[in-house]
Structures are given as C-alpha cells and as structure tokens.
Amino acid sequence: MAQTAAKKAGRPMSRLERKNTLIAYSFLAPNFLGFAIFTLIPVVFSVLLSFVKWNGGPISQMEWVGLDNYASIFKIEKVIEKFSEGEFFYFFERVDLGIALKNTIFYTLVTVPLTLICAIALAMALNKAVKGAVAFRTIFFFPYVASMVAICVCWNFMLMKDGPVNQFIQLLGIPFNKSWTADSTMAIWAIVLVSVWRNMGYYMVIYLAALQGVPRELYEAATVDGANKWQQFTNITIPQLQPTTFFASIMMIISCFKIFDVVAIMTEGGPGRATKMLVYYIYDVAFAQNKYGTASAISMVLLVIVLVITIIQFRSEKKFAND
C-alpha cells in the first residue's frame, strides 16, 4: 500500500488521492500540531541552545559562544593540566559533570542487576501454581504506581537515625546509627534501595509474560533426561529469557540515567555531591543557577548517552529477529 502511494507521488495527485490525503491530515492534525510545537521544535532548539550563553533574560542578551559551554562543563583545560601532573581521575573526583556521571553510572550498575535478579526470582516463584498468586502480584506491583513524593518521604523517615530500619539492623548486631541520606556512603544506597523496591514488581510482570512463552516441552524433555530444577533453570529458563532480559536491561539503563524524582526528594544531590546525578545536575544548573546554555550542553551529554544505548538496542533487535 505504502509503495503504491510512493510510486504515484511523482505524478500530480488525482482528485481522489488529494481527498484521501486531506482526510488523513485531518486525522493527524490535532495530535501533530501539539506534538510539533511542544516536542519537535524544542528538540531541535535544544541542540542550538547548547552553543549560546544566556541567563534567561531578554533574547537580545543571548550570545553565541560556540563550544565554550562544553569546554566549561568538561573543564577540559584543568583536566588536561591535572592529567599531566598525574591526577588521572581529576574529572571524576572534582568536576561536577564527572561526579554526576560517576554517581549515575554507579547507581545504574548496581540498580539494574539487583532489580533484574529480584524480578526474575519473583516471576519464577509466581509462575508456579501458587495459591494467592494474584494477591502477591498485586502487592509486588503496587509500589510502581504509588507516587514518588509519598514513598520517598516515607523511606526517608524510615532510614533516619532512629528510624525502624536502623533499629532493625541494630537488632542484627550491625552498629549503624546514622541517617542514611545524611551519610556520604549510604545515601546512594538509600536511592538504590528505593529504586529496586519500586521497580522490581514492574519487571516481574514483564518476566511473568515472558515465562508464559517458554515452551513446556523443553522442561518435559529435560525432566526425562534427568536434569534437576537448577539445571533446568540455568539451561532452559535463563537462555529462553535472554531477549527479555536484554530489553528489560536497556529500558532500565535508560530510565536509570534519567533518575530525578528520588534524588530531588530524598537527598537533593547531597550530602555534598555524593548523590548528584546527571538530571539533577541539569535541573540545578538550569533552574537554580539560570545558566541555560550550560544546562543545555549537559542535556546533550545525556542525549548522546541515551541515543547510543538506543542504537545498541536497535542493532541487537535486528540480531534477535534474525536468530
């Protein structure tokens, strides 16, 4: 169908075609107008904005600075200077962008595997003929729909100095009595904890659907061959779930790189810069410091990271489709 339309596109359109095109546009118009104005145009301008210096005042004060914003967020000169002096990790230890990247990557690398392991384990457990499976599923999924402010502030209180979590771990004999979000090593773990707690139910649902697609005959054949449950899990379930695991990881990596709510509500990037993440950094530079050009340059770093991950996904999608 699409090809015939394309073939005819070279010739002037017949009246019928013109009428059909008009009808099609009338279907598209309501959504497309909103989409073009509020999404498409800003996307294009976001690139341009990263090359100017502007504090949000009158447009006439906008000044084209080329790559200066990028040079300043990467602190290129300083980083090179320190590098030649032997401080190889100056970027990740001192520069705001480097710290934000380091924190975001650390958070992603910890959160993604933890969430996936919990999700697979829960899905496997619920995939058995368990009584009350629907009730369990509802409970595990519930944090995902609960609003962030309420759950983050609740976790914040629970992780306070004298809160229930510290009282519990003291019962276990671990002498920790500081507020998690005020401690520079534990703060990021508090964010990981809330993220895993919130998202495992969502990915569990995805895995439950995927488990339905694993052919029963594989397990039957394995049982006949004398494979035990663990061998069946590692040799059938895990390989069969591989495409799901891949897509779930990609989705989660991207959403981890975009983390904002938990940081903004629980730690505001602190203590110090211990939980400063990429999007919180963008927000801070843009709306607290009003440096629009600089903030746009940082946004471009986020954009490039997300696009690279998406391209990897597209490539592999083709690979999975060909297999």
Partner: protein, 292 residues
Amino acid sequence: MSEAVASKQTGRQIKKDNPALQLAGKIALYIVLTGVALFTLIPFVWMISSSLKLDREVFAYPMKWIPETFRWENYMLIWQKVPLLTYFKNTAFIAIVVTFLQTLTSSFAAYAFAKLNFKGRDVLFLAYIATIAVPWQAYMLPQFIMMRSMGLYDTLWAMVVLQAFSAFGVFLMRQFYQGVPTELCEAARIDGLSEYGIWARIMLPLSKAAIATLVIFTFVGTWNDYMGPMIYLTRDVNKTIQVGLRRFIQENSSDYHLIMAASLCSLLPVSVVFLCLQKYFIEGIATSGLKG
C-alpha cells in the same frame, strides 16, 4: 489454564520421587514470597501507623507498630494545615484533561498512520518514533523557555500541553490498529462509511483494551508526575498534590505524623484506580513492554 495443569503434572511426577523435599520446597517458596511481600508493604504500613501517632511518638525507641491511641484527628488537621483540596483539584484537572486529549488525539492520529495512505506518512511516523528515544530532560529547557514566552508559565495549561501530545500514545495505538484486519475497513468503505465513521464505529470499539491501557498509564503518569509541576508551577493555587506535598514537607519537616497522613491521602486516588483496573495494567505492560 493449560500451564497450571502442566505444572501440576510435572509437580506430581516429582512428588512421587521425593514428597518431603517437595513439601519443604513449597513451604520455603511461601516463606520467601511472604517475606518479600512484607518488605514491599512495610513502608505503607509504617506510613499508616505513623499517621495515627503524635509527632514525638513516630521515632520512639523501641518503635511501636500499633499506636497507643489512634489519633484520627491528624486526618482532620492536615486539611486545615495544607490546601490539599486545591492540590487535589489541580491534579485531577490536569490528569483528566491530559488523559482525554492524549487518548482522543493519539487514537485519531494512529488511525491515519495504521490504515490510511498519504504522502509523507513514513517520514512523519519516523519523526514520532525518533522523539520517543529523546529523553524529555534533554529538551525540557527550550520547551520551558517557549512556554514561558507564550505566557503559560505557572498555569495548569502548561502541564496539559506538556503531556497531552506524547508520541508514545500514538505509537501504542498504531501498534494495536495494525493488528486490526484491513479488510474490515475496506468492507466498511464499500458499505459507504466515511473514514471518520470507520474510526468511530469500528476502530474505537475494537480497541477498548488498548485504550484502557493508554488511559490508565497516562492518568497514573500524570497524577504522579513530579519534575514537570516542580519546574512550572510556583504559586500555591496552581500546585499539584505532588509538589504541594513536597512544599508542606519542606516547611514543616518535623510534623512527621501530619506528613505521613498527607502522603497517605495523596496515594489513595491512584491506589483505587490501580486496584480496580489492575488487569489492564498487567496486560498493558506484558504486551507493550515486550514489544518495546
């Protein structure tokens, strides 16, 4: 159904082999599931418990899960201390208008993309797809500048137009419409139905499940949105429940009991929607999540 039967059969085979081990496995399974369920629910239980205490009781040592006296008056007090009603109204307005516009315009556009031929269709659709991959945080700044120059800063309409025309909705609906046989549309055309008629009388009724998925995801997403309202809504009369609650927390950070009571109230509407429509949530994630 067949899976349950199948797993029962394999279960029976193993039971013959080792009934004690099978029983132990079953018990371990329930213990683990109950443990994780407790872990999932504990913050909510703690929230309820704290919301019924005095502020100084919240962090008492050793902590009590059941308050000595239930202070239901906390729930009266928060409505006086926080303009919760205004926040609820604002959030409901945004969530309902966004959900309505999103569903209507996406299903409209998706019909054109899925079932009509016109010049530039593939290019336009590519533009939609490409922006799904672009994180909102990467272009929120130019969007913000544009909205401000349009006079939409600190208005509820900013939140509406921000979220009502997402590419995701169009993508989801188009995926679904492509599964509807084209012959159905052809037959209707021969019978003299206009394209609008086909959309309204054939496509819409057939896509109830997809619409349900889109409606709940948009509604819950908009209701829970934090970053958008945080950037755009500054006056108290315009705040949504999320940013309003946050402001209350910042200004009264030691009123633990009231904060928990207000938090619980903010959770209720979405919880009710979820519990009533959870079937659509689960199905929606299972299908759209897998297709990516």
